[in-house]
């Protein structure tokens, strides 16, 4: 009996990658062919199963089974392209984050309670992309899933968004296609300049030092720009606020929560692959600091809650980039932890912003008054989100901040504290919004809508995970084995 269970556990772990790719693939087809009333259930089942798998894997890896979960299927043998997937600590952390965010997005569904079929279809499509991307061990596969994610997000904005969605979607697409083309170009250059001609990430890591310095620099520039367009980092950030303004709530949750992490994950891969990137560490850190301050200062002039949160994403991702550019374990894993934390947090904030729009029919902070009176749960979730963003202890953001800044001091000295000032400014402005629109003196915007139990549950799920990763950080850090 026990032996049987043990074998079952082993089997599930071994096939976890296949399952987490097959489930959304089947779900896509099912949603496409079934009626609209089943869409939510199918989407929820698909994201729920993958969440269960990732939790199972978390337990499996924490208990002490080494990370040796790989899958490889020949794809285009003549060009040495294989369908290679694998789990390593960093990719697993992001996979964990994306499966939680996707589950809550699917759970919250469309806050306007219409068009479930399109919403769930796109969520599941995006799930396929993010799962594939975070778990891929092959740059070719990485690229394919990257583009699937971009396309899914394009349709999210283009067909489910608000008024001027077409323009924002096109802007998003232009930036992302530019990133994709640079990415493809960079990947091909890596393929041709490594002596072994491989797309396999591990092979590239082992052989990349053989690429001549000039070519390495070119490849680095191509891929780095591609990834920071996606992250986004100043000066390639302009698509993000517009995309968020027009995107539907669930699209925003996935856009900031998961899609921006593609870029962060890419930068980590890039730094692992090309040895030359170490020489750019200080410049990248400077760029990150500039980006953080730039976005904070622009954030202070925004009226739209969603735009404010969008700019705060740029700040947070700049801090992630800052962490990664330290080239130390603290910075790297701090950055990964920050991405984990930020994904969950920003999904919650965008869900709150979307709920505010549903309840009050506006997102303008100068019109909204006394939200806490008429939308209690939303207001408290927003407030909790702000506390967490500023590094509330026992939340995941605190662990991330601690690791990043311990690393930053040893890498850059006292100057490494600069991003904290940006964080301070974000906080000051967010508290201004709270006092202006959430508390207010006796005047209240009238509620014309309401949110359902499923949105409230989504808030709860996200908060619980944020505090689990913050209160029991040893679970995730134990997997890192540093």
């Amino acid at each position: 009996m026990i032996a049987g269970i043990y074998t079952l556990v082993q089997e599930i772990a071994k096939n976890s990658i296949a399952i987490s790719l097959a489930v959304p693939a089947i779900a896509i087809l099912l949603i496409a062919v079934t009626k609209e009333k089943f869409s939510r259930a199918i989407g929820l089942a698909s994201t729920g199963i993958v969440l269960a798998i990732s939790l199972f894997l978390l337990a499996y890896l924490y208990i002490g089974h080494g990370i040796a979960i790989n899958a490889s299927i020949p794809f285009i043998s003549s060009l040495n392209i294989n369908f290679e997937m694998g789990i390593n600590p960093i990719s697993f952390t992001l996979f964990m984050m994306s499966s939680i965010v996707l589950f809550t997005t699917s759970l919250a569904g469309n806050v306007h309670r219409t068009r479930h079929k399109a919403t769930q279809f796109l969520i599941v499509l995006f799930q396929l992309a993010s799962t594939g991307l975070f778990l891929s061990l092959n740059l070719f596969i990485f690229f394919i899933f990257w583009d699937i994610g971009v396309i899914a997000m394009f349709f999210f904005i283009n067909s489910l968004g608000s008024e001027s969605r077409k323009e924002a979607a096109m802007k998003f697409l232009i930036y992302e296609i530019l990133a994709s083309s640079l990415l493809l170009f960079g990947i091909l250059m890596i393929y041709f300049y490594t002596p072994v001609h491989s797309f396999n990430i591990n092979t590239i890591i082992a052989n990349a030092y053989l690429i001549p310095a000039v070519e390495q620099t070119i490849i680095f520039a191509l891929l780095f720009i591609a990834f920071i367009i996606n992250m986004p980092v100043f000066p390639f950030h302009l698509w993000l606020p517009d995309a968020h303004t027009e995107a539907p709530t669930q699209g925003s949750m996935l856009l900031s929560g998961v899609l921006t992490k593609f870029g962060g994950f890419g930068v980590i891969l890039l730094f692992e692959m090309l040895p030359i990137s170490k020489t750019f560490g200080n410049y990248i850190a400077a760029l990150a600091v500039i980006s953080a301050f730039y976005s904070v200062l622009v954030l202070m002039r925004q009226d739209d809650i969603k735009r404010v949160i969008a700019y705060s994403t740029i700040t947070e991702m700049a801090i992630v980039l800052f962490g990664i550019s330290e080239f130390s374990n603290f910075g790297l894993y701090g950055g990964v932890y920050a991405m984990l934390s930020h994904g969950l947090l920003i999904a919650m904030l965008f869900l709150a912003a979307g709920s505010i729009e549903v309840i009050f029919n506006t997102r303008n902070i100068h019109i909204l008054k006394g939200i806490v009176k008429n939308a209690r749960i939303v207001a408290y979730s927003m407030l909790a989100g702000i506390f967490i963003m500023l590094g509330l202890p026992l939340s995941s953001a605190f662990i991330a901040d601690l690791l990043i800044f311990i690393g930053a001091i040893s890498a850059f000295g006292v100057a490494g504290l600069a991003p904290l000032l940006a964080l301070l400014l974000v906080g000051a402005f967010l508290y201004f919004i709270i006092s202006k629109s959430f508390m207010s003196t006796g005047r209240y915007t009238r509620a014309i809508g309401s949110i359902g139990i499923e949105q409230k549950l989504a808030f709860a799920v996200l908060l619980i995970f944020i505090f689990i990763f913050g209160t029991f950080p040893f679970i995730m850090l134990g997997i890192f084995k540093i």
């Binding site: 730039y294 622009v298 374990n329 806490v372 500023l390 509330l392 930053a408 301070l424 850090l477 540093i482």
Partner: protein, 593 residues
């Protein structure tokens, strides 16, 4: 049976969880106030158990990363025990008082949840022995105090007051994080006691500066003192708790703990200077304020300034003496003013409030005398201890004597003006008994602490700690205070009061400078405006940059338009271009040959 210090948090956490749960489930619970009180009493009982057993330091392994262990370390040394005891004692009185004070049924869960977390954070702070547990407590304190100050979010001014508090606290929190990582980088430890045992590094100035900023924000020192008087918009039990034994005392407590580091780095003069400025500002503002609680808030700022001055003189025991006695008289002052405010329909101006409860009047008098520092009462010992420490430095000593007189003036102005008002029939109906019980407990504590201080003199002198001085000190102190009381009596009980009131309403230049920290406030505004101006510039740059990318797109379109002229569908034109290309190619090959 051995009790781990961390257990002291368990009842509070449990009760807070119950409050949260019933809040989420929208239950209007009548029981939660008793549950909260029971939790605080249980916590205090556990705290007493901890105090009774020996001291020690206990590390709770949290997580480790990169070869570094992050522990939540707690300790039960004398200082920890003192603060734990204070928080527990005052906490019980405050929670009893709250039963009467907080009579809105719909807000009970929220109030008790926030209060319990606040108490929990302070208890954790009291026993914390490394920066990790300290930071957890520090941030929780800041956030819960923000929530409590903004408790009545629908009232005028509350949102601004809460924002002022949290923005200042945020500066402190970020500085604290910076200090922690800098300390860690310098000494590779989070533990206070390991840190204190290490040789000073010249680079320690950086973390110590950040630490000072954090302490000054928490303890409302110059230039971060403004939030504390704005915070008076919160419920009165919160003010009483915040000002007496929690939150603002946290900063001073941390300084008491880590003072040797400042001594090593020669940074005491900063403490002395900031403390003196704060003391003067606090006392002056308290004299010119009319809000019943804001006078007390300024008085707290002054008290904290005095403690910082004492620490600046490296007189830890003097600071500690005031630290302890201040908790009782300040809690008593706040609790009694909460009572009279409630009885007068939440009026705030001292000229419109009357007192007609004998217990409350007596409490106010006792607390005021203790604050002024009359001989047998506990406040005397704190003030004298600091005076003795300051005596070698004549300037500081004279300033402190002046402050003694000023504090007598403002607190008796407060007392006499309140007492002078005609006894209106207090029509407000509220449950008086729990509030009176809370006041009575603190009054008893004040008197007991006075006796304790008095009888502990000999024991303390054997430890070479002198907080009573000699007969001269007692004489000087008493004469000054009696003169102050007499002056106040003359000013505010006799006919001059109308003229004085008129002058208070139209202050002269000196009054304007001192009143409400005008300079500090305008400095804040200037900083805010500079940041706003930069933000505006960057914002317009962002828009221009966006336009620029559109121009790039437009350029691409124009290029497309230009090229489109070649693809107009006219066969003749195609043939012409084709021929031209052919000719060009032939010429090219000829040249190449």
């Amino acid at each position: 049976m051995f009790i781990y210090p961390i257990y002291v948090l368990a009842p509070l956490a449990l009760a807070a969880f119950i409050a949260l749960l019933s809040g989420i489930l929208d239950r209007k619970s009548r029981l939660i106030k008793y549950i909260a009180l029971a939790a605080v009493v249980a916590s205090f009982a556990i705290a007493c158990g901890i105090i009774a057993q020996g001291s020690g330091i206990y590390a709770l392994h949290w997580f480790s990363f990169g070869g570094i262990t992050f522990n939540i370390t707690v300790s039960t040394f004398l200082l920890n025990k003192i603060l734990l005891f204070l928080v527990g004692l005052i906490g019980i009185a405050i929670f009893i008082y709250s039963i009467g004070y907080m009579d809105e049924p719909e807000n009970q869960n929220r109030y008790y949840f926030e209060m319990l977390i606040f108490t929990l954070a302070m208890m954790l702070f009291a026993i914390s022995a490394n920066f990790i547990s300290l930071f957890i407590a520090w941030e929780l304190l800041g956030i819960t105090s923000y929530l409590l100050i903004g408790f009545w979010y629908a009232k005028a001014k509350v949102s601004e007051a809460a924002r002022a508090a949290i923005t200042t606290i945020l500066i402190g929190d970020i500085s604290m994080l910076a200090a922690i990582v800098l300390f860690f980088n310098l000494y590779h430890t989070f533990n206070f006691y390991t840190l204190l045992g290490m040789a000073a590094s010249p680079l320690a100035v950086f973390p110590l500066t950040f630490l000072l900023i954090a302490v000054f924000t928490k303890s409302a020192q110059f230039p971060f003192s403004n939030w504390l008087q704005l915070a008076m918009e919160g419920p009165t039990p919160v003010s009483a708790f915040l000002h007496s034994s929690t939150m603002v005392k946290a900063g001073v407590f941390l300084l008491i703990l880590l003072l040797p580091l400042f001594v090593q780095s020669h940074m005491l003069w900063i403490l002395l200077a900031v403390g003196l400025i704060t003391v003067v500002f606090g006392a002056m503002n308290a004299l010119s304020e009319n809000h019943i609680k804001k006078i007390l808030a300024y008085s707290t700022i002054e008290d904290l300034g005095l403690m910082i001055v004492a620490l600046g003189l490296n007189a830890v025991y003097a600071a500690l003496a005031l630290f302890i006695v201040q908790a009782f008289y300040k809690a008593l002052l706040f609790l009694s003013s909460g009572y009279v405010m409630k009885a007068n329909h939440d009026r705030e101006d001292i000229h419109r409030i009357s007192v007609n409860s004998r217990l409350v009047s007596f409490s106010m008098l006792a607390a005021a005398l203790s604050l002024a520092g009359l001989f047998p009462l506990s406040g005397f010992f704190g003030k004298t201890a600091i005076g003795i420490a300051a005596r070698p430095d004549l300037l500081v000593y004279v300033v402190l004597l002046g402050i003694d007189v000023l504090s007598t003036l403002y607190i008796f102005r407060w007392f006499f003006v309140l007492k002078k008002n005609k006894k209106e029939s207090m029509t407000a109906r509220f449950s008086k008994f729990p509030m009176k019980l809370g006041i009575g407990i603190v009054l008893a504590l004040l008197i007991i602490s006075s006796f304790a201080m008095y009888f502990a003199v000999n024991y303390m002198s054997s430890l070479r700690i002198n907080y009573i001085g000699n007969i001269n000190d007692i004489a000087i102190e008493t004469v000054l205070i009696l003169a102050g009381i007499a002056a106040t009596w003359l000013f505010y009980r006799k006919k001059q009061i109308k003229a004085l009131l008129a002058r208070e309403k139209n202050p002269n230049i000196a009054g304007k400078i001192l009143y409400n920290n005008v300079f500090v406030w305008s400095a804040y505004l200037i900083v805010a405006e500079i940041i706003a101006a930069i933000a505006k510039a960057v914002f317009y740059f962002d828009i221009a940059f966006n336009k620029f990318t559109y121009i790039l797109g437009r350029l691409a379109l124009l290029t497309g338009d230009a090229l489109r002229a070649f693809e107009n569908g006219e066969v003749n034109a195609y043939i012409a271009v084709f021929a031209a290309g052919l000719v060009f190619l032939i010429i090219f090959f000829i040249i190449k040959l």
